[in-house]
Symmetry: C2
Subunit: 336 residues, 2 copies
Amino acid sequence: MAELVRVAVDAMGGDNAPGEVVKGAVEALNESDRLKIFLVGKEQIVKEELSKYTYDTNRLEVVNATEEIEMAEPPVMAIRTKKDSSIVKAMFMVKHKEADAYVSAGSTGATLVGGQVIVGRLKGVERAPLAPLIPTENGVSLLIDCGANVDARPSHLVQFAKMGSVYMEHVCGIPNPKVGIVNIGAEEEKGNALVKETFPLLKNCPEINFIGSVEARDIPLGVADVIVCEAFTGNVILKMYEGVAKTLLKVVKKGLMSNLRAKIGGLLIKPTLKNVLKDYDTEQYGGAPMLGLSGLVVKTHGSAKAVEVKNSILQCVTFTEQNIAEKIQKAISSEA
Amino acid sequence: MAELVRVAVDAMGGDNAPGEVVKGAVEALNESDRLKIFLVGKEQIVKEELSKYTYDTNRLEVVNATEEIEMAEPPVMAIRTKKDSSIVKAMFMVKHKEADAYVSAGSTGATLVGGQVIVGRLKGVERAPLAPLIPTENGVSLLIDCGANVDARPSHLVQFAKMGSVYMEHVCGIPNPKVGIVNIGAEEEKGNALVKETFPLLKNCPEINFIGSVEARDIPLGVADVIVCEAFTGNVILKMYEGVAKTLLKVVKKGLMSNLRAKIGGLLIKPTLKNVLKDYDTEQYGGAPMLGLSGLVVKTHGSAKAVEVKNSILQCVTFTEQNIAEKIQKAISSEA
């Protein structure tokens, strides 16, 4: 039997911890027999939650951590001082190769900082981007970077393009993934200073399949597999995606309650609507991986329910078994 | 009788010119008796279109312009060399005070460049932003800047906040409009270098009602009346709004055709859906004004139909009658 993929899960992080996190972890364990999970958090509380479920006890361990990092805490300070927090302890397990991957719904700031300073970047990686999958008409695209490194430089974006290509090819199974850069027009001479400087670098990069500029309005169409952008822009794209979809659905639902005819119609379309919109539910895709680190770090939504936690953990199996970190290391070090 | 508001309309610009532009102009004229329209374009073609309609011929003139600026032409060169194009001629009418406002569905680049170099900025205005109204759950918000000045400096954003406040108060009738800056987190210490530098300037600006950071996901909720951002970010926000809405509706429609039950439901909800989604149709709001110029310049979508052209022209009446340019001039010159 191959070695199990070991995932350290922050049992205390997120709005629905530890309940939904523990539930998601158990579900992942029951779905994949190639997995071992460490639930890191306050031992007694976690064990109480675990007592509700049946699972293979050989493949799940509770690791006690007495402290918690709050969402609003300044991340650098929290990482430095709360050595016995679930986040810091789980991160160190990855650093010390006791775990292959880390999953947390807790503080984004602490996860990003911990990823860089505890787990550490692969040799040659200048910045480690956060890269969620976003739903499109054609399936999914990888949005890289969606919030880890604001004010990035052109060389960072080129590395993001390479890392994103490795991810899409080997985790999502898309051969020769198309790479686009977010721009405010389709022509090469358009854009801000960062994009204008990065464009020719991507164009002359033999390791990627660069298709040029992508306008934000075409992102939901799925025109590129890897969407490269600076973190501020990426964060705006991700949040607009969630915000517009949520508001539109709210408006439609409200409309459907406004008169009897619409109410009946609404009941008739409900199952179909639920089905088609499932693809637009970000929880289906698991959390966002932080790429370019010497272990895998995955950040899920703070509001993650069990299904997102489960999918985030399962993603770690493919990532680890496909040796993505090694492949990224190779792609980056092929630089001139 | 008060003087008529004179609007120079680029009859040749946009995907549906001159047909929809002429139609929209006639509709605006028939809706407001405070309006005079100059249709600038190839005289014979425009007159042919006009012959289809009935309107007050005293308040509409055709101004001959023999050249056209194509969408893909480099704007600076086009503005310089095509002196007899509809865009350049209409712009000069505003500069020479023969018209109060300019409306075009044609080349965005040429309109933005022409606004700056032909119409000209008000004294003290550093950059003239493009500022469309976007639909929200609470009505509309002004997104400023959505594409005119990439790589803006903090002092530009402060001026945008002031100009946007004047517009929302006096054109949209919102007293003491709330101003937010687009950011990737709610806390003051979050953001990129531009936002971090701009935040305290806005906080210490007594002329505006600054409410702090706005995350992109909250923009559709209508949390602020004036959404201040750098043009690259603004363009991404605007295009994501359009792209996500379009894709979601396409997905829903496709789902509604997938089975009989959903088809019947779809027919029942159609009138209600159409009604609630009307508020999310950007054509209802007319084009985007370019603020801070010594005359009004309005850019509509390239794909604008008659209704958007009409609403864009009618917007010019309020703008001019409310002396917005003068009020903006005053707000800007109150700077220390």
